[in-house]
Assembly symmetry: C2
Homo-oligomer: 271 residues x 2
C-alpha cells in the first residue's frame, strides 16, 4: 500500500511499488495487490482493515512516516488496529542519535528534539521501530495474527535500504528458496490475434509458466514482446520450466510464419 | 484499477495510473484510490465488487481487453456483476471494420474473424462498446447505479485516445468547472522537521490548499520540494488560493533562515 496524495494527482509514478514488487518477486514471493491511498486517516484506515481481512503473509506500506503534519501513516495504522499512539523510547533513541550525528558533523552544539522530531518516534502501541540506515524516521514493524506489517518511508533510498536490511531476509525465508525467472521473446510478422491461440497452447502444456504478450507496434504492424515467467521450487526448476516453454512457443510461432528474436531488436516493417 | 501481472512482478511502472490520475485531476475530479490486480478472474472480480460498494462516481479499469487467453477483464467484470458474456453486434462491427481496414491497406483479400478476434467483441450483457480510435479492441462502458464504469485497454496510446475521446468530456461535465492548480517551491537551508510546523500553519490558514514537502536531499543536507495544490470552484479561485498560501509560506521560511526558490535549481551545499 502506497500512501500519498502526490500519487493520486499523478505528480509522480509509483516507482516504489514497482521496486518492491520486483524485489519481492525475485525473492520468491507472489505480490497479490498494490493499493494507492491518500493522506487521509479515515479512508486509509478502512483500506488497511480491508487488507488485513485478506490475511496476507506480509503487508508493506510506503510513505507518511516523516515529520510533517500530513505524514499520517502511523496515526492511520493505530486507528485501523484500535491502538494508541505513543512515544516509543527505542524509536526516540534512534531519532535522537541521528540528530546528534548531524549536530556533530555540522559543528552545531545541539539539535532540539522538537515536536515534529518526536513525532517520528511516536508509533502505535505494541509495535517495533526498525532501523533506518540512511534517514531519520524509523520504520515500524507490527506483528499481527497471520500477517507481518512493515510501515516503510516514502523516500526511495530510505525505503530500499530498510527493505534490504530488515524485510528481504524475512521474505526470502518465507519463500523457502522459491525462485522466479523471466525471459522475453520479441516477435515480428504475426498479429497478436494470431499469436493468442499459440500462447494458450503453450500455457496449457507448461503448468507454472505464465506467458503474456505485450504489443509494442500496432495490431496491423505487429511487434510484440512475449514475456515468459515462472516461479519454481528452486532456480534450476524455474529455469528449466522457462526453457521448455520458450522452445515450444518459438516453434509454434515459426510454423505460423512469425519471426522470433530472443532479444530486443529494431522494429522492421515487413509483411 | 490497473489489471496485469506485469505490474505485480515489477516488470513495468504503473504509468497508465499516473497518466489517468493527472488527467482526471486536471479535469477537476478527485482520484480516491488506485488498485493494481492480477490477471486472475476470482480475485479481481472480488476487488471490483469491493470498489463498487464504495459507489465511486467513475470507475476506470485498464488492461486485459486484448485477444489473448489472459486478457480477462471483461470476463472478470461479467463475473463481478453476475452478468453473461455475449458477442455484441456493435462491438463485432467495430472489430470487423478494423480488420477490413488492415486487409485493404496490406493488399490481403480477407482477414478471418477468428475466435481470438471475436473475443474482443465479447462483452458483458447490457454494456456498451466504446470506439477505440487507434487500436482494435473496443473499450466498454457499463452504467451502474451511481457509478459509470469504463474498461479501457492497457496499451497506453489506445487507453489515452479513448480517454480523451469518450471519458474526459464526462469527467469535465461532472466536475462542474472545478479546476486544479499546483505550484512548487524549492527550499534550501532548512530541515524538513523545521519546515513541518510552518507547513501546518499554512494549511490551517488556507483552507482548500494542500501542502506537501518532498525531501530531495538528506535530512542533514536539506533540499526540499514543497508542493502546493488547490482544487477551486474555477481556475481563478484555485490560482488565488495557491498564490496566497505560497506567499505566506515563503514568508515563514525566509523568517526561519531558509532559502526559497520558486523554480527548481541546483542543490547548493550550505549551512
Amino acid at each position: 500500500m502506497s500512501v500519498g496524495n502526490e500519487l493520486l494527482i499523478g505528480k509522480i509514478a509509483n516507482t516504489n511499488a514497482q521496486w518492491l514488487a520486483k524485489r519481492a518477486t525475485a525473492l520468491g514471493i507472489t505480490v497479490k495487490r498494490v493499493t494507492v491511498m491518500p493522506d487521509n486517516v479515515v479512508e486509509t484506515a478502512r483500506a488497511i482493515r480491508e487488507t488485513l481481512k485478506r490475511k496476507p503473509q506480509f503487508f508493506l506500506t510506503t510513505g507518511g512516516l516523516g515529520p510533517t503534519f500530513d505524514d499520517k501513516t502511523l496515526e492511520t495504522i493505530a486507528k485501523a488496529l484500535n491502538r494508541k499512539l505513543d512515544v516509543n523510547q527505542e524509536a526516540l533513541r534512534m531519532v535522537r542519535m541521528k540528530y546528534q550525528m548531524y549536530a556533530s558533523k555540522t559543528g552545531i552544539s545541539h539539535v532540539d528534539l522538537t515536536k515534529a522530531r518526536v513525532k517520528m518516534a511516536t508509533i502505535p502501541e505494541g509495535t517495533m521501530p526498525v532501523n533506518n540506515p540512511v534517514g531519520t524516521a524509523p520504520a515500524v514493524r507490527v506483528d499481527l495474527e497471520g500477517t507481518i506489517l512493515f510501515a516503510l518511508p516514502g523516500v526511495p533510498r530510505e525505503m530500499e535500504a530498510i527493505f534490504e536490511e530488515t524485510v528481504a531476509p524475512l521474505l526470502e525465508e518465507a519463500s523457502g528458496g522459491a525462485a522466479f525467472y523471466e525471459k522475453s521473446l520479441f516477435v515480428d510478422n504475426i498479429m497478436e490475434s494470431v499469436l493468442a491461440p499459440l500462447i494458450d497452447v503453450t500455457m496449457l502444456d507448461n503448468s507454472g509458466v505464465y506467458v503474456k504478450s505485450h504489443p509494442k507496434g500496432k495490431e496491423n504492424l505487429p511487434h510484440i514482446e512475449i514475456h515468459l515467467s515462472a516461479m519454481g521450487a528452486n532456480a534450476e526448476d524455474a529455469k528449466e520450466k522457462l526453457r521448455r516453454a520458450a522452445a515450444q512457443l518459438s516453434g509454434l510461432i515459426l510454423r505460423n510464419k512469425g519471426k522470433v528474436y530472443p532479444k530486443e531488436h529494431r522494429l522492421v516493417q515487413s509483411n
